[in-house]
């Protein structure tokens, strides 16, 4: 009896060992990739449903890749990621912002992996030279941009019709539209800058339409100072908009979401913001929502709009090689043509490389198609997003200085002098990013 029990025990032990060995082999084959992204279901970057579906799709098609996902709100992911990096807890794969100067900082300190070999392996031809530049540092690529942010003017078609307004095609017409809205007792542009960053986007748009991409590059990558006539025109224009009642009263005390609510509630005719909030705009508008591009402000500048990558996929330099390979294959899956269709249809997010024909044939809201069709008409003239292009130390001067400028506390000259001082300090500290 005792012998029988012993045999049974041995048999059980052997079975357990075999099962454990099998399980560990399976685990060894599965590459677990920790992912931080910002795709929630509401607010900024609300493409959560698309992300959920694509994780399932890519895990199924790649077999050996397992995604361990954490959603970090878009506004806070920049800080959370930096803390993780400084504590050597960088997630294997991060979908964070900004690229350009901040990504360059991670590359400079060896925290993110160079991806040139993966670019060669997978092609990723959808990422054009502009975006490749913004995701490079000293000639090497460090991230794969996916989402493309464009700035435009959302408008209430019903209110435009009621007031007898047409979509402006020149800056003079735009000013005329604003005056007519004001005369009708409505708020022309829903704008709130309590969160400090919205004004930076508005200035980015105005700057591109006064200085043009070439004019911006002379400052950002060359020796031209901020105190130049084109930049001054941009600062003057923004301040004039604020002084002339283009925005609601107390705009520096109104939140970004509150300004959007003001527009969506039908209390303002327009709002100037980007595609990152398309999901909320499309879902929230109870009226016919339209979009147009702001016409050039300076006479000698081509039509265009602010664009950037919004956020980009970057891989931790500290991740094991098999995890890096798995993460790269997963990025390839996320940015494939089939996946791009899911991003568009389920997330109202149009990834980089999506062609106008694809967009036309895929199922999404007209406003999504209109926005990207208009914005992508001018790829060679589209210009930079300030607060993802300049170093963080400059951004943190830009935010308060802009509040002061449009609040009427300082003059355009004061503003440009403050910017020039912080710009010079950043260059002296080696923080400037050049593609």
């Amino acid at each position: 009896m005792k012998l029988e029990l012993k045999r049974r025990g041995l048999a059980k032990a052997a079975t357990s060992v075999i099962m454990l060995a099998t399980a560990s082999t399976a685990l060894a084959q599965e590459n677990v990739v920790t992912q931080w992204d910002q795709f929630s279901n509401a607010g900024i970057t609300a493409a959560g449903p698309a992300m959920d579906e694509l994780i399932k799709t890519c895990e199924a098609s790649l077999k050996d890749v397992k995604i361990l996902r954490t959603v970090v709100p878009s506004i806070g992911i920049r800080e959370s990621y930096r803390l993780a990096v400084s504590a050597d807890k960088t997630p294997d794969l991060g979908y964070t912002w900004p690229a350009a100067s901040v990504l360059a900082g991670y590359a400079r300190t060896g925290k993110v992996a160079p991806l040139d070999d993966y670019y060669k392996k997978y092609g990723w031809e959808n990422v054009n030279a502009f975006y490749r530049g913004r995701n490079s540092y000293q000639g090497k690529l460090y991230a794969v941009p996916m989402e493309q942010d464009l700035m435009g003017v959302y408008y209430n078609k019903a209110m435009f019709t009621e007031l007898g307004l047409a979509v402006p095609t020149t800056y003079a017409e735009f000013k005329d539209v604003v005056e007519k809205i004001k005369a009708a007792g409505r708020v022309p542009i829903a704008f709130g800058n309590r969160d400090r960053w919205p004004a930076t986007n508005t200035l980015s748009l105005i700057l591109g339409l006064t200085a043009g991409r070439a004019g911006e590059e002379k400052v950002f990558f060359g020796d031209e100072p901020w105190r130049n006539p084109k930049f001054k025109l941009a600062a003057e224009t923004f301040q004039r908009w604020a002084n002339d009642g283009y925005f609601p009263r107390g705009f520096n005390g109104i939140g970004y979401d509150e300004a959007n609510a003001l527009f969506l509630g039908g209390r303002a005719a327009m709002t100037i913001t980007g595609t990152w909030v398309l999901q909320d705009m499309a879902r929230g508008a109870k009226f016919d929502l339209g979009v147009f591009m702001l016409p050039p402000i300076a006479g000698d500048v081509p039509a265009g709009t602010m664009w950037g990558e919004g956020s980009q996929w970057q891989i931790s330099a500290a991740a094991p090689q098999n995890v890096k390979d798995a993460a790269a294959s997963y990025i390839d899956c996320l940015t494939s043509k089939d996946s791009r269709k899911v991003w568009v249809e389920k997330g109202y997010l149009v990834p980089i490389g999506t062609t106008p024909d694809e967009l036309k044939s895929w199922e999404t809201l007209p406003v999504v198609k209109d926005f990207y069709t208009e914005g992508l008409k001018t790829p060679d003239a589209n210009f930079y997003d300030l607060h993802t292009t300049v170093p963080e130390s400059v951004t943190q001067v830009l935010y308060p200085e802009l509040q002061k400028l449009i609040g009427g506390e300082t003059t355009p000259d004061d503003f440009l002098a403050a910017m020039q001082a912080s710009w010079k300090a950043a260059i002296d500290k080696g923080e400037r990013w050049v593609p």
Partner: protein, 286 residues
């Protein structure tokens, strides 16, 4: 009687916890302040260079000034309101005292982040309650963008801060008033002293140590204030509501300049320790 060694053994657990969670982090921060950092990574040893930057940092001096203004305003309003209301309340029935104490203390129980959101709504220039009430009262022209105007932002925020603090002052003053010998008030009444005279010549002088405690406590709190400012204005418009803690937060989390943020934190710690030391000395005096 316990021996000295046994006494140390009793204190040891608390000392270990204090060392691990207070002393060591403070030393770490002081050490970090000696280095220059690049995007969250140590770049080089810089000695006291981060501290020398303080001299030319206009935002630091602006923020320090705002902390001082905040402390003075807190001393002026919540303490004064607390003293007057506590004096009035002390003469009412015990039941009313209990109920009203709870009512006054309620704002103190609300997390400052929530209080910030509530006051952000009250001050909102588009749909805020304050402008609405002014409109209803026919004083619409007095309305404004309370947190967006340089002239009103800091004072408006301080009023919100006072709302969260005055209930605490009432409770402390009330307990102190209740410990005053009632015969003093009775004698004064017999001599024909009015309520105002009793308040001025009995209550106020006998509450000196309580007032000192509350004053220095609020001064220390004023240096550490963060939540309310961050939730409502993030230090804006411009730098009009910038305080030391928001400047440290931005330097650390947003700019990633860990060394300078650590130096600012050390300076803040020194200021708080100085104020704390001063309060200790004053409170020890008979």
């Amino acid at each position: 009687m316990y021996s000295s060694r046994q006494a140390w053994l009793f204190v040891l657990p608390a000392l270990l916890l204090y060392g691990a969670f207070v002393a060591v982090p403070i030393l770490q921060v002081a050490a970090y302040s000696m280095f220059s950092w690049d995007n969250g990574s140590i770049k080089a040893f810089g000695g006291l260079s981060n501290y020398s930057r303080l001299v030319s940092d206009n935002v630091f001096w602006t923020a320090l000034g705002h902390n001082a203004i905040w402390a003075v305003l807190t001393l002026c309003f919540p303490l004064l309101i607390g003293l007057i209301l506590a004096s009035i309340l002390a003469e009412r029935s015990p039941r009313l005292v209990k109920v009203m104490s709870a009512v006054y203390f309620l704002p103190r129980t609300i997390p400052l982040v929530v209080a910030g959101i509530i006051w952000g709504w009250i001050y909102n220039p588009v749909f805020g309650l304050l402008n609405y009430l002014l409109d209803m009262a026919g004083l619409g022209s007095w309305g404004g963008a309370w947190l967006a105007e340089p002239g009103s932002a800091l004072i408006s925020l301080n009023a919100a801060g006072a709302w969260t603090f005055y209930g605490f002052c009432i409770l402390i003053y009330l307990s102190a008033i209740q410990s005053i010998d009632p015969s003093l008030y009775e004698a004064a009444s017999l001599d024909g002293a009015s309520w105002g005279q009793r308040f001025r010549f009995i209550t106020v002088p006998l509450l000196k140590s309580t007032t000192l405690f509350l004053g220095l406590y609020s001064a220390i709190e004023a240096m550490r204030f963060f939540d309310l400012v961050w939730v409502t204005t993030q230090g804006g418009p411009g730098y009009d509501t910038e305080v030391l803690t928001t400047h440290i937060y931005k330097t650390f989390f947003l700019v990633g300049d860990f060394g300078y943020a650590a130096a600012l934190s050390v300076v803040l710690l020194v200021i708080v320790l100085l104020v704390g030391g001063l309060s200790y000395r004053i409170l020890r005096q008979p």
